[in-house]
């Protein structure tokens, strides 16, 4: 009996010790976890305090490769501006949140940052998130600058004065691509597309067709033949049936607007079918994503890019951004989203200086009609629909087995933004040409 009691006592003491420690730890963690969100409420911006810019972008998940460029672009711009004395004597600081490419996470983070005083935000990549930001920012009193969100609705059907796009919109980009083809490849008059089955894909194709129908008759003097595009599922692992469908097509030009990993899979699987060997391939927006993954297996193709440092050599801002990026990361192939974020931060800085205030309405007024210098040259934020007017950049990538990366940019062009941008029509869809 005694031994049983002793055993029980010992066990109980050990348990209570363990429990005490565990409770203390859990209690401590719990208390700090529960109170942490509230402690920051005192951190309201004062007039002499740093200006907080909220960065809500994808730092994990399928769009992480874009989000990391966005974040680095913001960091470099903030460092450069602070080194020059800040904005109106105030430092810029970044409050960074990961949206994990999830609209619910993005909207929660945006609201939280507004609560922390970071009502000026940047970094939206996803079109769905960008469209959700309009009503949110109107309601909560914030501003957001997107970094690559492609939906045309941002400055048309779903226009909201709180959302700004400092980069090229889909109308500019895809029409510039069509214009370039009419100039460089006038003999390629039959076109089809490999289009992902979502709104971005359908928009890019519709606008590219609009551009073909305008520029081929004007520049090449021929009417292009538009062949129904091949609609492919989003995130599919096997594209071979679609590739054979495209290979049977009589089109001499293929427009691709699949994206990221989907494009890599598709291009890799298309290799045995020689789909791109005797056809011109125009890619919507993959920049170096496909080439970086496929190396020497990369098919020769044109692709849209937000900024290519070689195209802008001689532009001091561009050269400095490239140098700072290489120093920061060691990577020598920055992608264009870096420049979008960089331009966005500079837009905020100039708008705040112009308005003399960081208040939401003042910054919106400052951004509207803003003309500012960027790594791609001067841009104008169109006051009517918050869409920047800027030149569109395109690069031609070819496989080069003798190079370190296995590919090289062998041609690059700039298309004047004013020649391809659509007229402003906030609240209304743009009417596009379609094949008769």
């Amino acid at each position: 009996m005694d031994s049983r009691v002793r055993d029980v006592r010992i066990t109980t003491e050990e348990d209570s010790m363990t429990h005490l420690k565990r409770r203390t730890v859990i209690g401590g963690l719990g208390a700090s976890a529960l109170t942490a969100p509230f402690l920051t409420r005192t951190a309201w911006a004062q007039s002499d305090e740093p200006i907080k810019i909220g960065v809500v972008t994808s730092l994990s998940g399928p769009q992480e490769f874009i989000g990391s460029f966005v974040l680095n672009g913001c960091k470099i711009a903030v460092n450069q501006i602070n080194a020059q004395g800040g904005v109106m004597g105030r430092e810029l600081v970044l409050e960074v949140r990961d949206d994990r490419a999830n609209p619910a996470d993005a909207t929660a983070a945006a609201r939280e940052l507004i609560g922390l005083g970071a009502h000026l935000q940047i970094g939206t990549i996803s079109s769905a998130v960008a469209l959700a930001m309009g009503p949110l920012m109107s309601q909560e009193g914030g501003v957001v600058i997107t970094c690559g969100a492609g939906s045309e609705k941002i400055n048309h059907e779903n226009y909201n004065k709180h959302v700004f796009r400092p980069g090229d919109g889909p109308y500019m980009r895809m029409r510039a691509q069509a214009q370039l083809m009419a100039e460089r490849q006038p003999e390629v008059t039959s076109w089809t597309g490999i289009i992902p089955d979502h709104e971005y894909g359908r928009t890019t194709w519709a606008v590219f067709v609009d551009g073909l129908l305008e520029f081929y008759p004007d520049i090449a003097g021929v009417q292009p033949e538009i062949i129904d595009p091949i609609i492919v599922p989003y995130g599919a692992g096997d594209y071979r049936s679609f590739i054979t469908q495209a290979a049977r097509s009589s089109a001499k030009g293929i427009y691709n607007s699949t994206y990221g990993g989907d494009s890599v899979t598709l291009f890799q699987q298309a290799k045995p079918y020689r789909l791109f060997e005797d056809r011109i391939l125009m890619d919507s927006a993959n920049e170096f994503i496909v080439a970086g993954a496929l190396g020497t297996q990369t098919p020769p193709h044109w692709t849209g890019i937000h900024w290519y440092h070689e195209t802008n050599k001689g532009n001091e801002m561009s050269d400095q951004l490239y140098a700072d990026y290489v120093e920061m990361t060691g990577d020598t192939t920055p992608m264009g989203w870096l420049a979008e974020a960089h331009a966005g931060i500079y837009a905020y800085a100039k708008a705040i200086e112009k308005a003399g205030s960081t208040e939401t309405d003042a910054v919106i007024s400052g951004l509207k009609g803003l003309v500012w210098q960027t790594v791609t040259g001067e841009r104008t934020m169109r006051a009517e629909d918050n869409q920047a007017i800027k030149d569109v950049e395109l690069i031609y990538i070819e496989p080069k087995p003798d190079t370190e990366k296995g590919y090289a940019v062998t041609d690059y062009v700039k298309v004047e933004g004013t020649s391809v941008i659509e007229p402003p029509s906030p609240g209304q869809a743009v009417e596009l040409r379609s094949p008769t």
Partner: protein
């Protein structure tokens, strides 16, 4: 583990505490926390709706996200396309849509399967719904629906504009309190006890005259309707509805809430939803390892404390008298 019953006065006390905490939140926390507070309240209903079918009727569903998405999309569609419908009717219709989907799923699957087999069928039906949403133009395909505004409640003699200030947040708190109360009544009353017999000993329940299949179907329909109502509340809160809501990973959420809090307890998913959000919130800046940390912690809790946090608390409280006895024996 036996199902823990909860006395009405205890239930009322806990609910009062939750409502007061919910109402105080906007006065002490920032906008992001208030938004998360609304999401947590909705997740409480999401979790309890799952648990009532799982713990009371033994129905394991891996497809509850389809009911949530049904409610969210139904409300999102009505708000953006037919805003003249009164908002409360929209919510009711969304719940009805979830109930209907649950009824169809149950009629197809419940008579033919149970346990893991039923779970696999719900997973498949859930994925079917997810794919269908991404193919439907009127639901916005992969892009979802945006501009789901917060409407006005019109009571003829007065109106409440839910788009102003925190009014929609308070509406969520009150609506969730009502839904949780209804679910508690159904958990505790004769209907709940009948479900319990179906789970505990279906053969005996059958001998006693309980229509087992009917009871299981009723539990699934109840779960589907309540989940859809939670989804209906979510749509104007997030102001965006995307196919992610119907993704299978979303179906794991109520299961996680229930396991974390304790499936045997009515308030288990409530505790789980709160803890999960606190964990997620406090790891949000740990980019890249946030999911790993949350997942690892959840795994640790589930493995170390199979009865959930409330199960652990119960066992700690139950052990206290034994300690005092030991002390008495030690010092006679």
């Amino acid at each position: 583990m036996s199902i823990t019953r909860i006395k009405p006065q205890h239930f009322a006390g806990v609910m009062a505490l939750l409502i007061v905490a919910g109402f105080l939140l906007p006065h002490v926390a920032n906008r992001g926390i208030v938004f998360l507070g609304g999401v947590v309240a909705i997740n409480m209903v999401f979790g309890i709706a799952f648990n009532i079918a799982f713990q009371k009727a033994g129905i394991l569903s891996f497809g509850n996200a389809m009911f949530f998405a049904t409610g969210a999309y139904a409300t999102g569609y009505m708000i953006t396309q037919v805003p003249q419908i009164p908002f409360l009717l929209m919510i009711a219709l969304s719940g009805l849509a979830g109930a209907l989907l649950a009824l169809i799923t149950g009629l197809l699957a419940l008579r033919r399967s149970s346990g893991v087999y039923f779970a696999v069928i719900t997973l498949a039906v859930g994925e079917l719904i997810h794919v269908l949403i991404t193919k439907m133009d009127f639901l916005g395909r992969n892009d979802g629906m945006v501009g789901v505004f917060r409407p006005t409640l019109d009571f003829a003699v007065f109106q409440i504009d839910l788009s102003q200030g925190d009014s929609y947040y308070y509406f969520i708190i009150l609506s969730c309190a009502v839904l949780i109360s209804i679910l508690w009544v159904l958990w505790s009353n004769r209907f709940g006890r009948a479900l319990q017999t179906v789970k505990s000993d279906p053969m005996r329940a059958d001998f006693l005259g309980t229509d087992i299949n009917r009871k299981r179907l009723q539990a699934l329909v109840l779960s589907g309707a309540a989940t859809a109502l939670a989804g209906a509340l979510f749509a104007p809160w997030a102001q965006i509805v995307t196919p992610d809501l119907a993704h299978w990973s979303q179906s794991t959420m109520p299961l996680l809430f229930a396991l974390l809090g304790g499936t045997a307890f009515f308030f288990g998913p409530v505790v789980g939803a709160v803890l999960f959000s606190v964990l997620e919130y406090n790891t949000r800046t740990l980019v890249g390892i946030s999911d790993l940390m949350v997942g690892g912690l959840l795994l640790a809790v589930v493995l170390a404390v199979p009865g959930g946090v409330l199960g652990l608390l119960k066992s700690v409280i139950a052990r206290k008298p034994a300690k005092s006895l030991v002390r008495k024996e030690k010092n006679p």
